[in-house]
C-alpha cells in the first residue's frame, strides 16, 4: 500500500528498457555446472533447477562477460532461474529459501521406512544372496516376539505421521504368523498415536496362498516381489528345488493381482551378470506381464569384486550400457503411445523437474539411512539399512546402531554411531560432491563407500556410486535437451497425476 502514497503524474506507457535493471552489474547466486557434451553444459542452481547452455557460458557468467543487451533471453533465463541476481540480496531470496526448505522437507518426517527382517529362512538359494538360510529352525532364524514388540515401539516413536512397516526375509511369508502378529499389534497402537500405516511384505510369492491373500486384502497389505526378467534369467538367478521360481512368481503375480488389484503389487529386479546381456528381454518381460513400470535397480555393491577398482569400473560401465539400452527400449514403448516408466530415472527426474521433496532411501542427502529408513534384524540387531545388515553377515558391524535388547530410541537414532554417520551423510559436505552440479539430484551413501572403498567418506574419482549416478544424470539431461519428445515423456513420468 506504500505505492498509493506516490502521486502519479502521467499514465504514459514506457518501453521495456525502462523496466530493466540499471547498469550491467550482477551477482552470482549459488550454482554449479557440468559438461554435457562437446557443445553444451548444464547449470544447476541451489534448488535443483537446471538450464542447458552452450559450452563456456558458466565461465562467461562468472567472468562478468554477460551483457543483458546482447543476450536478453539468456540473461532473463538466468535471473528468472535464480542463477544470478541484480541485487546482492535478491528480492525473491525468500522464494528460493522456501523452495530449498520444500526440497529438503522429506526430513520433516524423519524415519518413515521400518524394515523388519521377520525371518532369515528361505526356500530359495539365489546365488547372489549372502543372507538367507534354507532351514526349518524357527527359533534361531525367526524374529522373536519381544524383538517385534520392541521394534514396533521404536517405530511408533518416529515423529513422522506416515510410517511404512516392511517385512523382509529370507522369505518373509515363511513367518507369516509373525507378520500377522506384528500387524495386529501395531494397528491399535498406531491408531492411538495418530500414525498412518502402510504395510508391505517382500516375497518371492513361491509360498503365497489364499489365506495370505485374504489377510492382505482385508488389511490393505501391499506385496512387493522380485522379477528378474524372462524365465531363463529369473530361474538362473533365483535357484530353488524344481528350478521353477519364475513359474511360481508369475502365478503368484496373477493371484495377487486378482485379490489385491494391480496397484497393490510391485516388482523389483536385481541386475546380475547374466542380466547385463539381456536388457531388451527384461524390459519386454515386464511389459508383457502387465507392469507399467520397471526399476532397473543399480547393481548392488555386493555384485562387485569389492575393493578391486579396475574390475568395479568395468562392471559399472557394463551396467551403464545395460541401463541406457534398456531405457531407450522403454522410451520406444512410450513413443508408441504406451505409458511405461523406469523408476530409477523417475526418481532422478523428479528431483530435476519438480519442486517437491523426493525421499528415496538410496539417493538422498542427508542419506536415507536412519533419517529415512531403519532395519530391525531377525536377531534383534538394529542396522542403518538393508546393505548394512548384509555387511554384518560377512562380519562387518560398522553400521550396526545397537540392539533391541540394550538400546532405546535415543541410543539408536541419536547415539554415537548415528552421530558419526551423520558426518558423512551429507553430500553438500563431501569432497567432490560439494562442487558437483548433480549434488541436488544425487545423494550420499556411506555404506556403499565403506563397502567398496573402505572409507565411509569415499573417494569420488574411483567411486562406482559416483560413476554410475554422474553418467545417468548427465545422460537423462542430455536426452531431454536433444529430443523434445523425450522431455515430454519424462515430464509425464514425474507427473503427480500418475499413480506412483
Amino acid at each position: 500500500m506504500v505505492e498509493t502514497l506516490i502521486q502519479r503524474n502521467t499514465r504514459k506507457f514506457k518501453a521495456p528498457d525502462f523496466y530493466a535493471g540499471s547498469g550491467n552489474v550482477y551477482f552470482l547466486l549459488p550454482f554449479r555446472f557440468h559438461r554435457l557434451n562437446d557443445r553444451k553444459e548444464v547449470l544447476v542452481n541451489e534448488v535443483g533447477d537446471h538450464l542447458v547452455v552452450p559450452t563456456g557460458t558458466a565461465a562467461r557468467i562468472v567472468q562478468r562477460k554477460l551483457r543483458r543487451e546482447d543476450e536478453a533471453e539468456l540473461y532473463g533465463d538466468l535471473i528468472a532461474g535464480f542463477f544470478i541476481a541484480e541485487q546482492q540480496l535478491p528480492p525473491l531470496i525468500d522464494v528460493l529459501a522456501t523452495r530449498y526448505r520444500t526440497k529438503k522437507s522429506f526430513l520433516d518426517q524423519f524415519t518413515s521406512l521400518h524394515l523388519f527382517v521377520i525371518t532369515l529362512r528361505c526356500e530359495h538359494t539365489c546365488h547372489y544372496c549372502q543372507v538367507s538360510r534354507v532351514t526349518s529352525n524357527k527359533d534361531e532364524f525367526d524374529m522373536r516376539y519381544e524383538h517385534i514388540n520392541k521394534g514396533i515401539d521404536l517405530m511408533l516413536r518416529s515423529p513422522g505421521e506416515y510410517l511404512t512397516m516392511e517385512f523382509q526375509g529370507g522369505e518373509a511369508l515363511l513367518a507369516f504368523d509373525k507378520i500377522v502378529y506384528a500387524i495386529e499389534r501395531t494397528k491399535p497402537l498406531a491408531l492411538e498415536k495418530g500414525k498412518q500405516m502402510t504395510y508391505v511384505i517382500c516375497t518371492n510369492l513361491a509360498v503365497l496362498d489364499e489365506d495370505v491373500l485374504a489377510y492382505c486384502q482385508a488389511n490393505n497389505v501391499l506385496l512387493s516381489t522380485s522379477l528378474d526378467g524372462p524365465g531363463f534369467i529369473h530361474n538362473q538367478n533365483r535357484r530353488r528345488p524344481g528350478n521353477n521360481s519364475y513359474e511360481l512368481t508369475i502365478k503368484g503375480i496373477e493371484m495377487a493381482r486378482q485379490w489385491l488389484g494391480p496397484g497393490n503389487l510391485s516388482a523389483l529386479m536385481t541386475t546380475t551378470n547374466l542380466s547385463l546381456d539381456h536388457p531388451l528381454a527384461i524390459v519386454d518381460e515386464y511389459f508383457q506381464q502387465g507392469f507399467r513400470s520397471i526399476f532397473l535397480r543399480p547393481i548392488s555393491p555386493y555384485g562387485f569384486a569389492l575393493k578391486n577398482e579396475k574390475k568395479n569400473k568395468y562392471e559399472i560401465e557394463r551396467f551403464i550400457t545395460f541401463y541406457k539400452t534398456a531405457l531407450q527400449h522403454i522410451l520406444n514403448y512410450n513413443r508408441d503411445g504406451e505409458f511405461f516408466r523406469e523408476e530409477y530415472a523417475t526418481i532422478i527426474l523428479k528431483k530435476i523437474l519438480t519442486p517437491f521433496p523426493v525421499g528415496y532411501v538410496d539417493l538422498n542427502s542427508p542419506a536415507g539411512s536412519i533419517t529415512n529408513a531403519i532395519l530391525f534384524n531377525y536377531d534383534g540387531a538394529v542396522y542403518a539399512s538393508d546393505e548394512s545388515r548384509m555387511l554384518a553377515e560377512s562380519g562387518d558391524y560398522t553400521f550396526r546402531l545397537g540392539h533391541l535388547d540394550t538400546h532405546d530410541y535415543e541410543a539408536v537414532f541419536y547415539g554415537e554411531k548415528a552421530q558419526e554417520l551423520a558426518d558423512v551423510m551429507v553430500n553438500e559436505a563431501l569432497p567432490g560432491c560439494s562442487e558437483c552440479a548433480f549434488q541436488s539430484y544425487c545423494g550420499a551413501d556411506p555404506v556403499h563407500n565403506h563397502a567398496t572403498q573402505g572409507s565411509v567418506w569415499g573417494y569420488r574419482p574411483t567411486s562406482t556410486f559416483c560413476q554410475k549416478n554422474m553418467e545417468l544424470i548427465r545422460y537423462l539431461i542430455e536426452l531431454m535437451d536433444s529430443d523434445p519428445q523425450v522431455k515430454q515423456i519424462f515430464e509425464g513420468w514425474v507427473s503427480q497425476r500418475r499413480a506412483s
Binding site: M1, T4, A15, F18, G76, I79, P91, D94, S495
Partner: protein
C-alpha cells in the same frame, strides 16, 4: 448491456440503494417500485418513465426505459437522477467494483484506471448493497482497479461479504502486489472465508517482461512475494495469464516457472486478449494472431495439466486452437461475451464455443472458420 438510466429526480437528497420490484403486492423500505401509476405503500423510492407527478416518495421520472431492470436487481439512485445497476439477479457475473484506482497500468487493461479517489463513495455504496444481495448468490467478483488500494476498507468489505453471503464464491481480482507486505496477507487470512479465491496475474517468469506489461517497476517481485505470502497463510489462488505479443515469447518458461515456484496455485487460466480499454491504443505491441501462438499455448497448457494443475483457457475460439486444447477451453466469463461472427452461424461447435467478446468482433483471428460436424 445497460447499466445506467437517467431521469428527473424528485426528493432525492442522498444516495439510495434498494431492490427493484414491479409487484404492487410487495412492499418494504428496501424496495424500489417501478411503475407509472404511483402506488400507495412503503417503498424506498419510485422509478417511472412517466412525466413528473406527485408520489410522496423519492422518485425519478421521465426515464426513457427501465426494461433492462428485472425484479430483484439492486440499483443505486443518486441526487442527479442517475440509476445505476449494481447487482443483476439473473446474472452469474456480478462484480463489485472496489475502486478504479490502480498501482499498475497494464498495456492491455480492459478497464483503464482513473486517478480519482472513488474509494469512500464506492465503499459506502457496497456497504449498503452487500446485505441486499440474495443469500443464494452463487458467485461474486471483487474487481477494480486494484481493490487492495482500499486499504483496511478492502478487508472490511470482504468481512461483510463473508458474514452476509457465507455460501457465495468470492473471486477477488488483484495484482497481488500489496501482499508483498506479509501483514496484509495475514489480515486477509484472518477473514477465514474458505470460498475466497484471489485471481492474480503473472505475465512472465522474468521481471523485466512482467514489469513492462504491467507498466510498474518492481511489480513482478512484489506479486511473486505476495503469492508466496498468501499461500503461506492458506489463501486460495488462481494465476491469470493474458496472451499477447509481449507474454508469448516466455510463455512456456512461465508455465514451468509456475509449476516450480507457485505449485500451490489452484487454477491457472490463460486468456485471450480483449480488444477494449487500453488495448486498441497499444495494439501494435500487443497483437499476435492467436493461431500463431498455438504451439506455445499447447506446450504451456499440456505441461501444467500434465503435472496435475487445473488449467483453463478463456476468451478463445475453438476453431482457432488445436483440438487437443478444446477440453481446457471454457465458455464464457461475462455477460459481454458470446457474440459471434457471421461465419459462426454455420458452425457445428457454436454451442460449445466461447465465441468472442463484443468488442473483439473488431479485432480477431484471421483463422476463424466454421467447424463442420
Amino acid at each position: 448491456m445497460i447499466f445506467r438510466a437517467k431521469g428527473i429526480p424528485l426528493h432525492i437528497n442522498e444516495l439510495l440503494v434498494g431492490i427493484i420490484t414491479r409487484n404492487p403486492e410487495k412492499q418494504g423500505e428496501q424496495l424500489i417500485f417501478i411503475g407509472d401509476a404511483a402506488p400507495y405503500g412503503d417503498y424506498l423510492a419510485i422509478l417511472s418513465c412517466a412525466p413528473a407527478s406527485y408520489t410522496g416518495l423519492p422518485t425519478v421520472f421521465n426515464i426513457s426505459s427501465l426494461d433492462h431492470l428485472a425484479d430483484g436487481d439492486i440499483v443505486s439512485i443518486g441526487p442527479d437522477g442517475i440509476v445505476r445497476t449494481v447487482y443483476r439477479t439473473n446474472s452469474f457475473y456480478n462484480t463489485i467494483l472496489a475502486t478504479e484506482r490502480c498501482n499498475s497500468n497494464c498495456l492491455m487493461c480492459s478497464q483503464p484506471p482513473k486517478d480519482k479517489n472513488d474509494i469512500p463513495y464506492l465503499f459506502e455504496l457496497y456497504r449498503r448493497v452487500i446485505p441486499l444481495i440474495p443469500k443464494d448468490c452463487v458467485e461474486l467478483t471483487v474487481s477494480g482497479g486494484e481493490p487492495t488500494l482500499m486499504g483496511e476498507r478492502f478487508f472490511e468489505l470482504l468481512e461483510l461479504i463473508t458474514r452476509e453471503l457465507p455460501d457465495t464464491e468470492v473471486h477477488v481480482l488483484t495484482n497481488g502486489r500489496s501482499f508483498a507486505w506479509d501483514h496484509l496477507a495475514e489480515r486477509l487470512a484472518r477473514i477465514d472465508n474458505p470460498r475466497l479465491m484471489l485471481g492474480i496475474p503473472v505475465y512472465a517468469d522474468y521481471y523485466q517482461v512482467h514489469d513492462h506489461i504491467v507498466q510498474a517497476r518492481g511489480a513482478f517481485d512484489q506479486t511473486i512475494l505476495g503469492l508466496h505470502n498468501l499461500a503461506r497463510h492458506g489463501i486460495r489462488l488462481e494465476i491469470r495469464v493474458v496472451l499477447h505479443q509481449q507474454s508469448i515469447p516466455r510463455l512456456t518458461r512461465l508455465a514451468r516457472y509456475i509449476f516450480k515456484n507457485l505449485p500451490f496455485a489452484e487454477h491457472v487460466t490463460f486468456m485471450g486478449l480483449e480488444y477494449t480499454g487500453y488495448t486498441p491504443h497499444n495494439i501494435e505491441q500487443l497483437w499476435i494472431d492467436p493461431y500463431d501462438y498455438n504451439n506455445e499455448l499447447t506446450e504451456a497448457v499440456e505441461f501444467l495439466a500434465g503435472q496435475g494443475m487445473h488449467v483453463s483457457i478463456y476468451n478463445a475460439q475453438l476453431c482457432v486452437m488445436p483440438e487437443r486444447l478444446w477440453p481446457y477451453a471454457r465458455k464464457s466469463i461475462s455477460d459481454w461475451k458470446n457474440d459471434y461472427l457471421p461465419a459462426c452461424e454455420s458452425c457445428s461447435k457454436l454451442d460449445d464455443c466461447g465465441g468472442l467478446f463484443t468488442w473483439n468482433l473488431k479485432k480477431c483471428s484471421a483463422y476463424i472458420q466454421p467447424l463442420s460436424a
